[in-house]
């Protein structure tokens, strides 16, 4: 059906035989970007850049226009690409945060599997003491990948879990400590305060921790991801993003704005619910998949 048509198909149809690029073409391109959740602001910026390049006669035909568009988007994503260096500290502490249901716990499971396969000793902290069976969920992952889990009873103080996990990571010489947290909407002041408290405990117990504060974003999320990134960054100094659920039909275009506007690198993408469904983020591949 029409809605399932790929964007490249649509751009090709759009540009087929159009040697001259007119305003209508640009307007349609604008719509195509918006469909990928690129966001109104980024889309308008991108189109404006293309318009300027058109005026300077840099773009002669549809092919050139398409390539220019891809390059512009890739450039925005490639500006911030520092890789995660988990050997920089021991234990290397990763705090995983995000709104409800985006894939925090699952991503921790996948990351743990990855680090385990690299021969590292991994410890997981069940910092979500609120959601029903959240700790059990993390324990299943821990068993699956061969990582210990520090947990308390449901309803207990998450910073107490994190405190114990720090002690355990130091005592057991863990290479990596991954901290799961409860899903929280970025607008909830008390929950954001709770997260800051977790951070403070980490800072106090392990020098330099958290070495990475990872914000998880769901590829199906629209404009709200901007607000999530803004408020989580303000509260917790987000240092990396993981984009999950890219195995569905959503394009996840909103990370372009998130990464560009807030200068946060995208570290990984999630492409399924299995233990191996985690990939390094590759801006070029990502952009190709959008088109």
């Amino acid at each position: 059906s029409k809605t399932h048509e790929s964007i490249v198909g649509r751009i090709d149809t759009l540009l087929l035989g159009k040697k001259q690029i007119d305003a209508d073409t640009l307007e349609e391109l604008e719509e195509i970007l918006i469909t990928a959740d690129m966001g109104v602001k980024t889309t308008v910026e991108l189109i404006r850049t293309l318009e300027q390049r058109l005026k300077r006669n840099e773009l002669q035909d549809g092919e050139a226009l398409k390539k220019a568009l891809k390059d512009e988007i890739t450039a925005r994503l490639s500006q911030h690409t520092t890789a995660l260096d988990v050997n920089a500290a021991s234990p290397y502490v990763i705090l995983v945060i995000g709104v409800n249901g985006v894939g925090k716990t699952t991503t921790i499971g996948k990351l743990a599997a990855k680090f385990r396969s690299e021969g590292k000793k991994v410890l997981l902290a069940a910092g979500d003491t609120f959601r029903a069976a959240a700790a059990e969920q993390l324990e299943v992952w821990g068993n699956r990948v061969g990582a210990d889990v520090v947990r308390h009873k449901e309803g207990s103080d998450p910073s107490a879990v994190v405190f114990d996990a720090c002690k355990a990571a130091l005592a057991r010489n863990s290479d990596i400590l991954l901290i799961d947290t409860a899903g929280r909407l970025h607008t909830k002041v008390n929950l954001m305060e709770e997260m800051k408290k977790i951070r403070r405990v980490l800072e106090r117990e392990i020098p330099g921790a958290p070495h990475e504060t990872m914000l998880i974003l769901d590829a199906a999320t629209g404009q709200n991801a901007i607000s999530q990134a803004k408020l989580f960054k303000e509260a917790a100094q987000v240092s990396g993003v993981v984009l999950t659920k890219l195995d569905g039909t959503a394009k996840g275009g909103i990370v372009v704005a998130v990464s560009h506007e807030f200068a946060i690198p995208v570290r990984y993408i999630g492409v399924g619910e299995g233990v191996d469904d985690l990939r390094e983020f590759d801006p070029l591949q990502f952009v190709e998949a959008i088109f």
Binding site: I34, E139, H186, T187, G222, Q223
Partner: protein
């Protein structure tokens, strides 16, 4: 933080106040603002396109009122059209008019809020003196069954005792029989999250549907969903024939425009909204509230109602 649409439109219409009619020419910029506001609220671009066209037809030729600024007047037209698109005034109550035990199926993408909404619905039904049974039919996500069992304990509502090594279809079949024998009048089936393009898992839902003959198949959608909401909802609707929508996580600052898209493509009413993680955070859906939220209007509404 957000400038409301009506403020923006007032700027557009600075000169038109209190005289003349709206013409193609003088509402062009206003409609552009409407379009942008809807896109920024995550309404699907095709839905926006059709919608803006309808507003144009309505607006052109309209006399500018003395009592409202032209901006407010366009907002009024947009508001009324959106409420009607959203099914304002239509019956969106839960349909349980079938021989008990009445089955309700929860379906949707991963992490949308299905399991939590099962608990909320069960609580809501219990308060209406019904006797619900919750059935965990998600054998894939780690500890999904335990999650629903925990909610059941919190609510003192029975949860069917399924195990992760059983087949979802068998669980659902047996649970329905059990409900019948044990005098439950409503059975809420929690299913695993899945993508609408996952053939195998979508087939599984179809088989469950055919086995339990649900009166309601509720598509659970995250209010933060972007442009893909249309394809996801259409995918679920085509395969299963959904009967309604639950819009979750509306307690944040997401505008929830995806709900408009879902209604526009499926025609199915939004029945409930989720407004928090706690089990009492469920409300019956009101079209006008969602529309005000999308348009970022507070006091404008009262003004408009007076006009």
């Amino acid at each position: 933080m957000f400038e409301s649409l009506s403020d923006k439109l007032d700027l557009v219409f600075k000169k038109l106040r209190g005289h003349g009619v709206m013409t193609e020419e003088n509402i062009k910029d206003a409609l552009r603002e409407v379009r942008l506001a809807l896109l920024e609220a995550d309404v699907n671009f095709k839905v926006v396109k059709d919608f803006v066209e309808r507003v144009r037809e309505k607006a052109v030729g309209t006399q500018v009122l003395q009592s409202l600024s032209p901006g407010q007047q366009v907002v009024k037209i947009v508001h009324d059209e959106l409420v009607s698109l959203m099914g304002g005034g239509e019956d969106n109550s839960l349909d349980l008019a079938a021989k008990p035990p009445v089955a309700i199926m929860m379906v949707g993408l991963q992490g949308a809020g299905k399991t939590t909404t099962c608990g909320k619905l069960a609580r809501y039904l219990k308060a209406q003196r019904r006797k619900p049974l919750m059935v965990p039919a998600d054998v894939y996500r780690p500890a999904a069954i335990e999650q629903l069992k925990t909610l059941g304990r919190q609510l003192s509502i029975e949860v069917y005792d399924s195990q992760a090594d059983q087949k979802p279809l068998d669980i659902c079949r047996n649970a329905l029989k059990y409900a019948e024998l044990s005098g439950f009048d409503t059975v809420i089936f929690d299913t695993a999250g899945r993508h609408q393009i996952d053939e195998y898992l979508m087939d599984e839902l179809v088989h469950i549907r055919d086995a339990v003959d649900p009166r309601e198949i509720l598509f659970v959608a995250d209010a933060m969903t972007g442009q893909e909401a249309v394809n996801v909802a259409a995918g679920f609707d085509e395969r299963l024939g959904i009967t309604g929508v639950v819009l979750t996580k509306l307690d944040g600052d997401a505008k929830g425009g995806a709900a408009l898209s879902i209604k526009a493509v499926s025609g199915k009413p939004v029945k409930f909204v989720g407004l928090g993680e706690k089990l009492d955070a469920l409300e019956v859906f009101h079209a006008d509230r969602l529309v005000s939220r999308i348009l970022g209007m507070g006091d404008v509404l009262t003004l408009i109602e007076k006009a």
